[in-house]
Symmetry: C2
Subunit: 70 residues, 2 copies
DNA sequence: AGCAAAAGTGTATTATATTGCATTTTTATT
DNA sequence: AATAAAAATGCAATATAATACACTTTTGCT
């Protein structure tokens, strides 16, 4: 999963849940600036930061064997 | 996905593929010390590091909506 | 248009991930 | 047991993620 996708997924999910960046940042205990950077595809977040956000977003980070395209 | 699981999954997958830490680190262009730390559950890797390893391991990092327990 | 809330950006600081190198420990093979 | 390969660990240097704060821009509403 490319970093770009990660940012899109987080932003989209946040939009669906109708919460602001401030709210998500606070609930996830992640810096607001950090969340903004992630949603804008800047930087390279750590797994723990993504996990914190995922938890609040009702999501999970998975590492799986890639399905072979058919 | 907890960080602990991530390390286990990577180590297990590497074992299945029968490659050494040195080989994986070189192929993934990740520092050997970094890979060792990850496999031993130390630290908090960045998404890009996990992605580099995943690529070589034929895996992928996914961020998905959590299935509700039944 | 005017306003307010939300989102985006620039910069500096702090914390820590990544890395190489040297060394030790463990594992596996003969 | 001796050896060799693989893995683990300690340490120091460098790169950069996380963060706060101030400010600008965009968005949406009346």
């Amino acid at each position: 999963m490319a970093l770009l996708n990660l940012s899109k997924i987080i932003k989209h999910r946040r939009d669906v849940l109708k919460i602001t960046q401030e709210q998500l940042a606070e609930m996830a205990e992640v810096g607001l600036r950090t969340l903004k950077s992630i949603e804008n595809g800047k930087g390279n977040p750590t797994v723990s930061t993504i996990n914190k956000l995922a938890k609040v977003l009702g999501m999970e980070l998975k590492l799986e064997i890639k399905k072979t395209g058919f």
